[in-house]
Symmetry: C2
Subunit: 78 residues, 2 copies
């Protein structure tokens, strides 16, 4: 079960899934960032896999995507 | 599916599960912190739910617990 994954790869997988799910819900990046209570530039960096996102932001984003945090990670192959 | 959970509660749930699983594997907190490449005092704070842990540390800790990050969150009711 142990994973051997580089930092950037994990962040990129997570960011891509967040972007895909955000778009599927019809949110612009700016509107979604606002809903999550984070800055648009931060959300852009998250979606590009450039941020080591914290559990509290994972929870905030998951809430707005209407999925559990564990599901967001599972969908990101994490 | 959306969660309404305070910051501290989520961190405490996650910290408790990390502590329980770490102990179940027979690691001291110090040895486990060393295995994960973090400081003992940081791991203590994580287990007490005092840290907003990042995805990369969630991955490191999950690896050492031999579970997927998504499973660690799921076991923490997140």
């Amino acid at each position: 079960m142990a994973m051997n994954i580089s930092d950037k790869k994990a962040q990129k997988q997570l960011g891509k899934v967040i972007r895909d799910k955000r778009k599927a819900l019809g949110y612009s990046q700016e509107a979604f960032a606002s809903e999550c209570g984070v800055h648009r530039t931060y959300m852009g960096a998250v979606e590009r896999g450039e941020r080591n996102i914290s559990i509290m932001n994972i929870i905030r984003i998951s809430n707005r995507l209407d999925i559990l945090p564990s599901q967001l990670l599972s969908d990101s192959d994490l």
